[in-house]
Symmetry: C2
Subunit: 635 residues, 2 copies
């Protein structure tokens, strides 16, 4: 019996740390984005996303405007807005969703076709620009939206539209004569098809997903077609950019565009869960080892180069010029969740949590209205603003909506966070995240009701109450960083065994467990194969990576040398409404001996004892432009 997806509607987050972020998304950003998508928000960049659908629907006249994947902006909003109803059943949002779906319905062509870019601008090029046309990508996002809308509201309206669209795609693509035998340029539809399959049971979704996953890397692929040969000469647009350099079972490393890769592996894991194919599972495990063991930043960021927004080579993890796109970290969390369904192992959850609390959260400002696409681990503003190799690095978060890719992705992740808390199969429930919530989880023995309060990420403490059938196994994750993981029930220690990183409990109806573990600030070094981190250390506590900022420590953060023999000190800080900061000790150079016009001098030079105050990485750049540093020189 395989693991299955937990209905996101049934896990409602209620957590001191996350509430304000989710509330901001639900109350402010979802309505704001609807206005933006309708070009009704003064000062925001033109979107035209709704207008494109209206024109395609014959409701308005005009021309298509935007990127070829502009439709996906509306799709991601529908998904986020649907999730937002879990937290606030707003009539305005419901009405907007209803209106959006009505327009989409009218825009759909009689045969099921639904991409406004091609309907309006290139009607003779449908399915002809597979590498970069993004038709299948847009379908994927709209299908995810349809599943979210159905899951939360129970309405099949959008799902029916998309079913018609998918059936058309199933006719167009395939290995039969007259069909296009190919696969998407930008993966996304695979995981969406598997979501639709799980809620509908319709085979067409599964078959198409499996075909796209298994066919990827087939030669000749879309890049060998004459019309793509020119494109493929671009150094970063060759087959590996699209994960099309080999069939998935022959892929030894995560290559190419990081978001595409993450979405692909997510969809492939969904297929592997359905088929039980051990060779596909093994391939994904190998790719997971490659990514998390050789190509992932300590923040959960993936994709180390801006050119091609892509993976480069093993251990190549520059801290200042990295890409580490917010969407890619979201993709890593999505993939981790699927790996947890394939096999419950806390190492997947550790990475998922790492990505969510660091690279994903850093994508959004504390005010909820500014976003990073690129999340560097080191920033010097003057260098970032000047150097060519930093041109994809923004030194400050930017206002909502340029190329609107990451911002709505963060919002749908925040509103859909409940989906990351559990996996379940049979009579087993695995809780991966210590995030306060209340949940209903269906098991083979009936519905289990769980509530959790948590002090994470500041303290390793949670309280979990179970109501439901007996005979259920409740597995609680023992985080990699937990010191002295202890469980009590009514003040009495509970004995437990640990299986692949999970403490196994057999709760009674009404059982309440207290989870307690210490989270010491820990100094971490990188594999010496990572050139850029040699001689350096990063400071982490619990799931949080910490960083130094100029706002607390003045400039020239790199000149600090951390003393690894001195443990960091914790401090409860009123910053940002109350956080735990860390104080680390070391030395800084005596700048008196370094006049501005002297570059080099005989060592050793005078150094002075110094301390640095560190804040959680995800909070950086909320106090203006300044230097930031994760990996500190250390001895």
């Amino acid at each position: 019996m395989p693991f299955h997806e937990i209905n996101v509607k049934n896990v409602k987050i209620d957590d001191k740390f996350w509430n304000k972020r989710i509330r901001s998304a639900v109350e402010n950003i979802v309505p704001y984005q609807w206005r933006v998508l309708n070009d009704q928000e003064p000062g925001a960049a033109p979107s035209h996303a709704v207008m494109n659908f209206k024109i395609a629907a014959g409701m308005e006249s005009g021309e298509f405007y935007g990127y070829q994947f502009q439709d996906s902006d509306l799709a991601k909003w529908i998904e986020a807005a649907s999730f937002s109803l879990i937290y606030q059943d707003s009539p305005q949002v419901r009405a907007a969703l209803d209106q959006a779906i009505s327009i989409i319905e009218k825009a759909q062509q009689p045969d099921g076709y639904l991409d406004t870019h091609y309907i309006l601008k290139k009607p003779d090029k449908k399915w002809q620009e597979i590498a970069h046309g993004h038709e299948l990508y847009c379908t994927g996002h709209m299908l995810e939206a349809a599943v979210a809308y159905y899951t939360v509201t129970g309405s099949e309206r959008l799902l029916k539209i998309m079913e018609k669209n998918v059936k058309l795609i199933r006719q167009v693509f395939g290995k039969a004569k007259g069909q296009i035998d190919s696969y998407p340029g930008h993966e996304e539809i695979e995981l969406a098809l598997m979501k639709a399959y799980r809620v509908t049971g319709e085979q067409v979704y599964f078959e198409l997903a499996q075909y796209f996953v298994e066919n990827r890397g087939e030669k000749p692929g879309f890049l060998e077609e004459p019309r793509f040969l020119e494109l493929a000469k671009e150094r970063w647009s060759q087959a590996d950019y699209h994960q099309a350099h080999a069939k998935i079972r022959e892929q030894k490393a995560a290559e190419g565009h990081a978001v595409r890769a993450m979405y692909f592996f997510t969809g492939a894991a969904d297929v592997a869960l359905e088929t039980g194919d051990s060779t596909l599972k093994k391939a994904l495990e190998n790719l997971w080892s490659n990514v998390t063991g050789r190509r992932m930043y300590i923040t959960g960021g993936v994709g180390s180069q801006g050119d091609g927004e892509r993976f480069t080579i093993d251990y190549d993890l520059p801290n200042d010029t990295c890409y580490t796109e917010t969407c890619a970290a979201i993709g890593l969390a999505m993939w981790a969740l699927r790996m947890l369904r394939l096999e419950p192992d806390a190492r997947y959850a550790d990475v998922m949590e790492r990505a969510l609390y660091n690279n994903v959260l850093s994508g959004i400002s504390e005010d909820g209205e500014h976003y990073f696409y690129v999340n560097p681990l080191q920033l010097k503003p003057d260098v970032a603003q000047y150097r060519r190799d930093h041109e994809s690095v923004e030194p400050e978060r930017v206002k909502w909506f340029g190329c609107a890719c990451c911002p709505p992705n963060v919002i749908r992740t925040l509103c859909g966070l409940g989906g990351y808390v559990y996996t379940q199969r049979g009579e087993a429930i695995y809780q991966h995240l210590y995030v306060g919530h209340s949940a209903e989880v269906e098991t083979s023995s009936g519905v289990a009701h769980l509530t959790c309060t948590s002090s994470m990420p500041w303290q390793g403490a949670a309280s979990i109450t179970y109501h439901g059938p007996v005979g259920i196994s409740l597995y609680l994750r023992v985080p990699e960083y937990a010191m002295g993981f202890a469980l009590t029930k009514d003040g009495t220690p509970v004995e437990f065994t640990v299986e692949r990183g999970y403490a196994k409990l057999t709760p009674q109806n009404g059982s309440t467990y207290q989870v307690n573990f210490e989270m010491e600030a820990r100094l971490v070094q990188a594999n010496p194969r990572v050139t850029e981190d040699c001689g350096k250390a990063a400071v982490l506590r619990g799931p949080l990576v910490y960083c130094a900022e100029e706002a607390d420590n003045g400039p020239l953060l790199n000149s600090f040398i951390l003393d690894m023999s001195i443990a960091p000190e914790l401090e409860e800080s009123p910053l940002f409404g109350g956080i735990t900061t860390l104080q680390v000790a070391g030395t800084r150079p005596d700048m008196e001996v370094w006049p501005e016009d002297r570059l080099y001098s005989a060592a050793p030079n005078a150094r002075q004892a110094a301390q640095m105050k560190l804040i959680p990485y995800f909070l950086w750049n909320n106090r203006g432009l300044g230097e930031m540093l994760v990996w500190m020189n250390a001895r």
Copy 2:
């Protein structure tokens, strides 16, 4: 009485270290390059440089081929070949020079115009593409060639051709009605004009040089003309790229294309020496402080970014993606020599020597036939071959002649090295370099004959014999790195005073001095404002920067941590015909605790005592592809 240029013919290098390099240039590379320029060298990239002149001369039919500055390849060859006659008066080289000049003579148009690119390809665009046309740049190199040919052979043939060309330019450019009021896109002609002025005394050269130097930065400049406005929108092609963002006295920092900047400052210093203008001298001193105090690599490299081949911002000195073009380091040495003429101060000579022994020499392989344009201070081959931001970094020297800019520049520098040894004015002679040689130096009291034998750069020992008039002051440089600088004469210590880094002697006819100083290997740190060098040290001995190579130390050089409390050990090595290597002590990580698929682990991790063998930087990459590192992690 100002300093003046020493006739390069009168300083003949005869030095154990340099002889093999000069001999290779004279005997092999000069003839080889002549064949390449005539497209007679199988396997070499097509040059067409001589053919372009032949076609322009009406001696052949065909079309122009090559870069718009292809003429300068022949010019630099004439300069190098002329200098080579100092060392080997080859009839073949003389005949080739004679032939080349005859062709050039025929190619020159009646009005004096002489750029084959415009004669053959764009006759209606003469003087119309000043920013990037390179006409004035090519004239500059051909004028340098003419001066070299005249200086060494006494023949005025080429000089007369160029005089006619310069007189045309003097008519075309200027502030009178009908003239083009502008300045060159790529500086070079300024310093060449000043060379011509010194050997001929013709005012036209000086006036034109002064006009170009003083006019630079005048608004509107060539970038404001409508035909350049489009070009100037390119981020790296704006006014500062051309050092045209301000008049020279208002320039606070060296900006833009590094070679252009070095050539400009060189020419400007020549003008300042002639005019005695203290404000121009002060501006150059400020620029010198900026370059050497904030923007120069420890190897004497300048220009830290490949895009725009340019300076970026203060203290921005990445070691792996730097440009540090060989030509730019040559330009820095040229500028240093001019600053020494403006004011004898050993700090200029220290930088000149640093550039020559490190960034310039690293430009050429030990076999003399392979060249670096870009001279990084850190190389990981797999990263350099993969990453976009390393695309200008070649991981190995390349064979002679692609865009043939740096290779002939190195050759003319080697053959013309004698010109860097002395400066002279009145009865004062300053010796800057301890390079074995024999020289005739004209002074106001008559000709002085000097011979020098030297053990540099391996030992701080030299013997200098003087024959000539009495009353001469001989100033010997006390290098910045000399420990216990001592002078003896016939075994007896000589008392001396030191003026701005020079030991002052008053030799008798026939005096022989022994110079002795210790050169300890020294550990050097960078200003903490240099982010990339924080927590690191470089190892130098005498003028030489040392580096670690994979050939001696295996891979993962960055994982070594140098122990700065342990002095490097010297070792006489048979490598490369006999060099001094250094052994440094420190630690390397125990790789047993670092499996290939684990990226991060709690610190501190096991480290083991280790040593690294260092070789002089200029010798790197003579033993195949591998890692190289100058700045080592240190504690």
